[in-house]
Amino acid sequence: MSDIAERVKKIVVEHLGVEAAQVKEDAKFIDDLGADSLDTVELVMAFEEEFAIEIPDDAAEKIQTVGDAIGFITSNAKS
């Protein structure tokens, strides 16, 4: 679990160019971390690749915070 959280946070830091300290679980990608709508698509793509999962569009729309991403991946990841 914590491993998934760490990997998710690392991707967010790398992709959005934000400080690790900002990437809290309740941080919203768009409102708090300065992502635009394309960034959110790219983050989902990066999560899919990192965790070898598929995130369907309707699930992706609900992933708005770092915690949402960790939660979805934790319940869907195989590894």
Binding site: D36, L38, V41, E42, M45
Partner: protein
Amino acid sequence: MFDLNGKTALVTGASGGIGGAIARALHRQGATVTLSGTRAEALDQLKVSLGERAHVVAARMDDAADIDRLAKEAEAAMGKLDILVNNAGITRDNISMRMKDEEWEKVLQVNLTGTFRLTRAVMRGMMKRRFGRVVSITSIVGVTGNPGQANYAAAKAGLIGMSKSLAQELASRGITVNCVAPGFIATPMTDGLTDDQKKGILARVPADRLGTPDEIAAGVVYLASEEAAYVTGQTLHINGGMAMI
């Protein structure tokens, strides 16, 4: 200039006059090309004449599953996709009073919806690599209109609006989205016109001749190049001065 070595391109409608010229021009600049269309035999002939760096993936643009397959197979064959040329298109001409729903829908489906689906399907890879060139072949009639072509003109105008929207969505990712709008071009399609019809057309063309497929292909090569990185959301009109807009 306009070196495309190391670049990969997918050209739809490559069995046609303009599509074939575009594929040959991109290939001549060094690109690896995947030729798509519905006439497998013509595509295979073109592939043979190009020699190396050429692939064929036949597909129907009115079939959503086939379009997704085309995107996947083209990327698999070439390893990545840098340049998409949406050239496939059909006509079902009729004056509007007589135009059937099927004629309207078929043209919109192939020329506009199919183009959108294919572009959407290849966007992901382009976004990841921060590079992409999408060039859609629209038409002068998409801007000026043409009697008997309400369906075709609507689809071609639609491509221009679609491209401008995609251009704004994707510009920050190094992806440009443009259109080339041919006027009257000498192809097997225009060979079928009578001399009187041709005379009528040329009366409206200051250059006093039909254009050639190579003249359209040159515009596509430019928009596909690294040099055109700052050109997006535009329509390049290649029409001998027939309409100046």
